[in-house]
Amino acid sequence: MTYRSKLKQFFDGFNVVIFTLILLFLYIPILILIIYSFNDTKIIAGWKGFTFKYYQLLWENENLKNAFWNSLTVATVSTIISTALGLLTALGLENKYFKAKKLIQGIIFLPLVMPDILMGVSIAMLFSFLRFPMGKMTVIIAHITFCVSYTIIVIQSRLQGFDHSLQEAAMDLGANKSQFFWKVKFPIILPGILAAALLAFTLSLDDFIITFFSTGRGFNTLPVYVESAIRRGSVTTINALSTIMIMITLFITFISKPIRKMLI
């Protein structure tokens, strides 16, 4: 038995080592960013002194604020529409006698496996072909297109666990199909719908390449703005921006747990 317990000890130590290395790997660059955002230097150099000035510059940067606002708008509109489309589609696919079910599941699968760049290119060419001006509209359309497959599968997986005997119970008690849906089914699947919406929102906010291809002159979202800033070399405010975004992400992650508990 001591062999076993020694092996277990080794294993436990091994686990700790692996996990710490991984955390280092994942977090070190981020910590660097945060530290550098307070570094008083225009270029990537050694430590030149602590400053808040880049945060101040951020605040005064109109283009950045525009880009941020655009990101939010696009994400909100895309989320609403793609979640709604996702809900309808997932509900439609519940019917097990539906002949087209397999085909449609396959179609849903396609945007999920194709590299984003292909979708970007194809959308750019579509709107050029149609002579449709590129800008906010086209970005939103592109975002909905790549988000909707995600919303469908999230809602579908929540629908799978749905207890169908509840439908008979509701109908037995006098509810017709519509009353059953709004009073019983919808409240129960709502967490799934919200999860889908959250996923779509995140994917939309984070997207670069598809937005890059579907946007027009002057319309920037945050990732696109960041990329062009990096390309131009004006990286100083980017550090500050990155730090803020990381903080926001951390904040949302830590409050989302209690919020989820409230919903369930």
């Binding site: 109908m171 008690l173 006098g174």
Partner: protein, 384 residues
């Protein structure tokens, strides 16, 4: 009178006939049970009454209204489901109130009626809880309240006690009967448990392969089974196939087909008289047979056979003996009316006398080689 009438109700799935031309009239306020093994069609029949299946043929009436084609939400019928199907996202109050809310009943009236129902099922303290927080028995009471608040004409119960343990089942059975008495509407109870059906029903129907093997009062069905299926599905019985060799005014004598040694006399005063040379099956309930080392004093009143004990199974309230009589095997229940401290209990391989009154057997005008007792009992005998 709002009686429930089933007229030629049939349900076919592809080539399989689940329910075969059922005709039945259930009086308003009856507590009626459908009893049968899995797959006999009882649940399908219940679902057709509830509206979840449509009959392939036939009609269902409540009073004068034909409800056969109505969707479930338009029928004056409510169902208690096997796993209760309470709404997990609503508390108890809203679960019970659901049917009324759907009908847009006024809030204050809902309040009153929910409280009434909670009192009826004795769950007043749990109003604000959620179904997940309740035990099985409690959930069932809520399911009952949720159904009865709608004042249906018929309440359907689909094996409601199946998920509960024995003691709770016994308790809930009584509760259900009390609720039925309090409310007075027709209850339709589907089960495979024959003791439940016998306990609770005013009348019951035994179902087998889509049709009724017998319909009647519990003691009629038990003591006077009309089919071999009815005889052996409800309780245990000894089935003896025999040929009628003598027919007198109130008596018939049959001789066992397998064992011409034994002649059995049957009092046919309340019976249909068999004809000479008919081949029939006798049903003899094990508790009707007395077992003893000595034969009875008044030999004329009894049928007496001699045999040897092959197996003994102690059962608390009674002991079951398997006794070989010639080439027959008899199952005998001896009730322990007293604890016999002074007498030596019967043992394996003891020779014993079995005797029963000639009124205690029942003639079934049917024969079925597969169901003849002896062979079946033989399979269950343990060799000591």
């Amino acid at each position: 009178m709002e009686d429930l009438r089933l007229v030629n109700v049939t349900k076919k799935f592809d080539n399989f006939i689940a329910v075969d031309s059922i005709n039945l009239e259930i009086k308003q306020g009856e507590f009626f049970s459908f009893l049968g093994p899995s797959g006999c069609g009882k649940t399908t029949l219940l679902r057709m009454i509830a509206g979840f299946e449509t009959p392939t043929e036939g009609k269902i009436f409540i009073g004068d209204t034909d409800i056969s084609k109505l969707p479930p939400y338009k029928r004056p019928v409510n169902t208690i489901f096997q796993n209760y199907s309470l709404f997990p996202h609503m508390d108890i109050y809203n679960n019970i109130a659901f049917g009324l809310k759907v009908k847009k009943v006024h809030k204050s009236e809902i309040e009153d009626r929910v409280q009434q129902m909670l009192k009826l099922v004795k769950m007043g303290d749990h109003v604000n809880k959620f179904p997940q927080q309740l035990s099985g028995g409690q959930r069932q009471r809520i399911a009952i309240a949720r159904a009865l608040i709608n004042e249906p004409k018929v309440l359907l119960l689909d094996e409601p006690l199946a998920a509960l343990d024995l003691k709770l089942r016994q308790h809930m059975l009584i509760e259900l009967m009390n609720i039925h008495d309090a409310v007075g509407i027709t209850f339709l109870y589907v089960t495979h448990d024959q003791s439940e059906a016998l306990n609770i029903a005013d009348r019951l129907a035994i179902m087998n392969k889509g049709s009724f093997a017998q319909v009647g009062l519990p003691d009629d069905v038990y003591e006077r089974p009309e089919t071999i299926f009815a005889a052996y599905f409800v309780g245990d019985t000894n089935l003896i196939e025999g040929r009628v060799i003598k027919v007198e005014e109130d008596y018939a004598t049959i001789i066992s087909q397998t064992d011409s040694e034994h002649e059995i006399e049957i009092d046919t005063t309340y019976h249909r008289q068999p004809n000479l040379d008919d081949v029939v099956t006798l049903s003899l309930r094990p508790e009707k047979i007395a077992i003893s080392r000595k034969p009875p004093k008044k030999k004329d009143d009894f049928n007496i056979v001699e045999g040897v004990i092959e197996d003994i199974l102690y059962g608390g309230t009674h002991t079951q003996y398997i006794v070989r009589v010639g080439s027959h095997f008899f199952r005998v229940f001896q009730q322990h009316k007293k604890v016999y401290i002074d007498e030596l209990s019967l043992d394996w391989e003891e020779p014993v006398y079995l005797y029963w009154h000639d009124t205690d057997t029942h003639i079934i005008f049917e024969t079925d080689k597969n169901r003849v007792n002896s062979e079946n009992i033989m399979k269950t005998v343990r060799r000591k």
